[in-house]
Symmetry: C2
DNA sequence: GACAGATGTCAATGCGCGTTGACTTGGCCG
DNA sequence: CGGCCAAGTCAACGCGCATTGACATCTGTC
């Protein structure tokens, strides 16, 4: 598999501890699946990254699919949306989108993981439900909408779109295009967050 | 592989014709790759869909990767952007996004194909270049921007985002949420297409 | 300190894959 | 009509994979 640019083992040499081993495998799976996708990631890769044995994975997770779904669930954790400053949100996001996608950033890995899942017909429904519960609902609360969640939907969609664009763009934007891009993205986001402003 | 909901063979029984066979394989590959992705699609699947033999694929396309890159190139064709009515564009797109993704629609398949390519580190750069040439440039022309292409970038990103959202949403929106969604999406798109309005 | 169950190791199995090469069939041209 | 080359078929190979079950080792408990 591709280089993960990480220490050979995710964890320090540990004593016999099923829970810790399970956790190490799960963490390794989250990283590996995010970078390489479901199919290109072998259980041998994950085991090597976790510093454990391949045979433990079917035992602890019931198989590759079980590991994937559990890694998916663990990845879509309730976001720390409350931490975001509402005044700076749009501009911060815009600046982030103007940059390059950094594979070392855990959030990039998370997003790639989710995108991988979105393209597979089998995992897409599962992802849909998870996104609904753990992504859309928090955004709606954050926005303070009572009536519907269409605004959260729109915001999430736009956010995702810029992430994809950044992913396939590869490099960061520079110069005039960057500033113009940031301004426009800020305006777009602001228009959704504060429609009347 | 998953059901493609298509006739067993893409083409009528044809006589010995290398060009036609090649074309049938390529068409089958475009469909199969879009639905199942690179890894989950086997050459045997494609051959069966095209009504030909597996062994012909390495011969005609030099291998699976060759077939994929050729299918990718054939998929990113210059879009018929000029046909779109600029006044109705935003609302048409918004209505489309409020509906459900239809796998029978060739455009849905195309998009899924591209998204698949975007998530693979190896194919992402290739996709980026292709998108730049055959997607961003036409949009910029359509928008009539002289200075930069940041507006085309933003529009493309938002468009992609809604496509992804629709993909993972699965079902169509209904009732109040639908109308609210359509209105808001229309407004967002209009804000990018005609910033001063 | 010894037992027992939990934990980790290892080799082996079966399967599906892409690819290869030898073979057969078909159609065009003389 | 007959030969010849393109086009298509078929069987087989090697490889990597997930999974299994038998075996070894550690660790907490009495």
């Amino acid at each position: 598999m591709t280089d993960l640019a990480e220490p050979a083992h995710l964890v320090a040499p540990r004593r016999r501890d099923a829970a810790a081993t399970r956790a190490a495998i799960l963490e390794a799976a989250k990283r590996a699946f995010a970078v390489t996708g479901y199919d290109r990631t072998s259980l041998r890769d994950i085991a090597a990254l976790a510093g454990s044995d391949v045979a433990l994975i079917p035992r602890y997770f019931g198989g590759k699919e079980g590991l994937f779904t559990e890694a998916l669930k663990a990845t879509i954790a309730p976001d720390r949306l409350r931490d975001w400053d509402r005044r700076r949100f749009s501009r911060d996001v815009a600046e982030m989108m103007a940059g390059a996608a950094d594979i070392a950033d855990p959030r990039t890995r998370t997003f790639q993981f989710l995108l991988q899942a979105a393209t597979s017909p089998t995992t897409a429904p599962l992802l849909g439900r998870a996104v609904q519960e753990r992504f859309l609902a928090p955004i709606r609360d954050w926005l303070g909408d009572e009536a519907g969640q269409e605004r959260a939907r729109v915001l999430a969609a736009i956010y995702i779109g810029f992430l994809v664009e950044r992913l396939i763009r590869g490099a960061a934007l520079e110069g005039v295009e960057r500033t113009a891009f940031v301004d426009r993205v800020t305006a777009v986001l602001e228009g959704v967050i504060d429609p009347q402003a």
